[in-house]
């Protein structure tokens, strides 16, 4: 294994695969903060050159956190599909990138090898890709999942309706929900981040959302994004829970900071298997985001892109219905500006899809990040073109509880119109029956909340 490369007479050597992976990243303020980023643009290219020659087998043998000290590494290693792995193990990262981009490689062939890929392989490939590469390869991957509705089919573009409220006022949540549904949003999930993390309020919000969906025949899923232990207690209160949520990090110590472990998530998944209100077979919902391990000092000297991919390695154990990166929420110390947030969103989408995850994205910024509203709107179109499974949707994109800017009720039908995309087939049929949409165009009742009771 050669860990050095020479560019115009200067030789750059690297101490480990982990270091090569980190130095190969495009600029990210979080990698600077961790002290793992390339020290010059030329060194970055040298790291990429080294990375392009490493084989998939070498990446498997050198996870960024050792097997002995991290349960996510163990989970990935112990559950890797050997026959799928054997199909790719001899390829270098550079060759694997070319195979993905080759016109003869289809979504089906990518799907055939996905269970044999480790997160490090997905991250390594992303580092050799430009934004356009990430769009092209990400768009090719096919990941289709089913709960009450069928998500991720070709030509579809879905949204989570996010009717958050600073004091969990249920009527306030329902007003936002009705407005969003009238704009054709909410086919992936109607999901509330609660202000109060208690089983009782979780159960109450779930009941109200379930009642609204039942009353109006809306084919979708409900979810309250409280901590998984709170949701497990809420299930004991006999409430209708379609999806169960949790935030993930890419290392055992990062997950410990989130108050979770593989064992706890196994338990939660089992409980949901028995007590959920939805059809399934997919019913888990996870959120991730570059930088979340470093923020709890749980990054083990690895870069934030590789750690993000490891979240998907964890997530795929539970065959989730939804996974999305909350890309711009973490703040400028991890992703400083529009180009960094855009890049991270496209990387995360590609890596997740490659690993077989139904990847969505919360395309967003906080008000102290250097991203403009125009840049954010552009990112939504890029994600739509990349085949991103879903985006968020809020009134004017403004989260009045979490104080950040995401995508809006108006953005979802706009992107659908631009790219000729439709919501899930079940939700599409409902929108047509209610005359909210006619084909891919707004119908006579578009934006008319009186359509909903």
């Amino acid at each position: 294994m050669k860990l050095s490369a020479t560019i115009r007479g200067s030789t750059f050597g690297f101490g480990s695969v982990k270091e090569v992976l980190a130095r190969a990243n495009p600029p990210k303020s979080g990698d600077d903060l961790a002290g793992v980023s390339a020290r010059s643009p030329v060194e970055r290219v040298a790291a990429r050159a080294v990375l392009s020659q490493l084989t998939m087998a070498e990446l498997r043998a050198h996870p960024v956190i050792p097997y002995e000290i991290d349960e996510i590494t163990r989970l990935v290693e112990d559950n890797l599909d050997e026959s799928a792995y054997n199909a790719v193990k001899h390829l270098s990262v550079g060759q694997f990138r070319e195979w993905l981009l080759d016109s003869k490689t289809t979504g089906a062939t990518i799907r055939s090898v996905a269970p044999g890929l480790t997160p490090e392989m997905a991250a390594a490939t992303a580092k050799l890709m430009s934004n356009m590469d990430l769009l092209v390869a990400g768009q090719k991957c096919e990941v289709v999942v089913r709960c009450n509705t069928t998500l991720g089919l070709p030509g579809r573009f879905s949204s989570r309706l996010q009717p958050n409220h600073p004091t969990d006022d249920v009527l306030g949540i329902l007003y936002s929900t009705r407005e969003g549904l009238s704009y054709g949003c909410g086919d992936a999930v109607i999901g509330v981040n609660p202000a109060t993390d208690t089983p009782e309020s979780t159960a109450e919000i779930l009941r109200e959302l379930h009642a609204l969906n039942t009353r109006n025949g809306v084919p979708t899923q409900n979810c309250v994004l409280s901590h998984v232990t709170v949701q497990m207690k809420a299930l004991d209160l006999d409430c209708p829970m379609d999806l169960m949520f949790q935030s993930f990090a890419g290392s055992e110590s990062g997950n410990k900071a989130f108050g979770i472990s593989v064992r706890l998530m196994d338990e939660a998944h089992d409980k949901m298997q028995r007590l959920r209100s939805s059809k399934g077979p997919n019913f888990m919902y996870f959120e991730t985001g570059q930088g979340n391990a470093l923020s709890s000092d749980a990054h083990h000297g690895a870069d934030q892109v590789t750690l993000e991919a490891r979240c998907y390695g964890f997530a795929r154990r539970y065959k989730p219905f939804l996974v999305n990166t909350v890309v711009g929420f973490i703040g400028p110390e991890y992703l400083e500006n529009g180009p960094q947030i855009t890049r991270a969103a496209l990387e995360d989408h590609f890596m997740g899809k490659l690993l077989g995850i139904p990847m969505g994205c919360d395309a967003c910024f906080t008000y102290h990040a250097a991203m403009s509203q125009d840049e954010l709107e552009s990112l939504k179109v890029l994600l739509g073109a990349a085949g991103c499974t879903y985006l968020m949707s809020l009134p004017v994109g403004d989260d009045i509880m979490l104080n950040y800017q995401s995508s809006s009720f108006h953005d979802i039908p706009s992107v659908r119109g631009l790219l000729d995309k439709r919501p899930t087939p079940e939700f599409d049929a409902w929108l047509h029956a209610r005359e909210i949409m006619v084909g891919s165009k707004p119908g006579p009742r578009f934006g008319d909340v009186t359509v909903l009771r």
């Binding site: 303020s29 903060l33 409220h165 600073p166 007003y175 008000y367 004017v396 039908p413 119109g417």
Partner: protein, 305 residues
């Protein structure tokens, strides 16, 4: 016919099909465009029944209508104004002489520019060498509570309700018989800076009041973080916090009372954060917090032409 001439014929045929020199149909005759219906950001006087009902329960911008799939012009301007206010609050810096003019000991973290402040939380958590010396010289030592005012992510909030909150909080502490440290005001400060400032003053509890990350149309909210046994190396698990301190959230007077109760609990239990049991003073906390709950703020028009 050879390959080349066949292709040439095909291209010529395509050109004819696409309309020779004019690939578009004839330009339609222009018709005067009627004035569109008035679509405004909902104000109490002009909103729909739905917007009216919703406004009693949420500040979310609902009932705003649409043009095609996009926003009406008035909504765009309201949004841009709110965004500009938020960005302005983030970009504002505490003027160098402000702390002194208010009678606080002026401290600065190891951060030297606004951009560095955003990118390097580690530097915002430690005092600059000069500030460390100044604070060592000027701070009252061996005290119960060290109050600190700081810019955080909104200097606007710090300079707005900051002094009122600091004074009310100090008064509440004195009322309870706690010794209160020399008031300090820190620039380019992160929450954890309270550890070093409190450690130098040998304070039993350190309380930092700092501007919170602005939301759309806001930028005047303060948060308070409290830690027992301030020392460099404490983590978030050691802290208690209160957010949303502003005129439309928890008003400073109420926040001050509640914070003083938290300090009392910490002094009694010799701990803070996850280990702190709020139950012994739940009633007092509730009493102090009672006035803190407000109906959601009204969203006001920012743009008038």
């Amino acid at each position: 016919m050879n390959e080349l001439s066949r292709t040439r014929d095909l291209v010529a045929q395509l050109r004819r099909q696409l309309g020779e020199n004019d690939p578009l149909p004839p330009r339609p005759r222009p018709q005067e465009i009627p004035f569109p219906p008035v679509r405004v950001f909902p104000t109490p006087a002009r909103r729909s029944a739905f917007a009216e009902q919703a406004a009693a329960h949420t500040t979310a911008l609902v009932g705003i209508g649409h043009v095609g799939t996009r926003y009406a012009t008035d909504v765009v301007l309201q949004f841009q104004a709110e965004l500009a206010v938020a960005h302005g609050a983030v970009a504002a810096e505490l003027p160098g002489d402000w702390a002194q003019s208010k009678g606080y000991v002026p401290l600065v973290s190891r951060v030297s520019s606004h951009r560095e402040f955003l990118l390097r939380p580690d530097l915002g958590r430690r005092l600059s060498p000069q500030s460390l010396q100044l604070w060592t010289e000027q701070s009252r030592k061996d005290i119960d509570v060290q109050p600190i005012l700081a810019d955080g992510l909104s200097a606007v909030a710090c300079m707005g309700a900051g002094p009122e909150l600091l004074e009310a909080f100090s008064a509440e502490c004195q009322k309870r018989g706690f010794t209160v440290g020399t008031p300090a005001c820190a620039k380019f400060a992160r929450v954890w800076l309270q550890d070093e400032i409190g450690q130098v003053a040998r304070a039993r509890v350190a309380v930092i009041l700092l501007g919170e990350r602005p939301g759309l149309g806001t930028g005047d909210g303060l948060s308070a973080y409290l830690v027992h046994g301030p020392r460099v190396g404490n983590t978030d698990g050691n802290r208690n916090m209160m957010s949303n301190i502003h005129a439309r959230g928890i008003v400073p007077a109420d926040a001050a009372k509640r914070l003083a109760v938290l300090v009392q609990l910490m002094l009694e239990q010799h701990t803070s954060g996850v280990g702190l049991d709020l139950a012994p003073r739940a009633a007092e906390l509730g009493e102090a917090a009672r006035g803190g709950y407000r109906a959601p703020q009204a969203r006001s028009r920012l743009v008038e032409v």
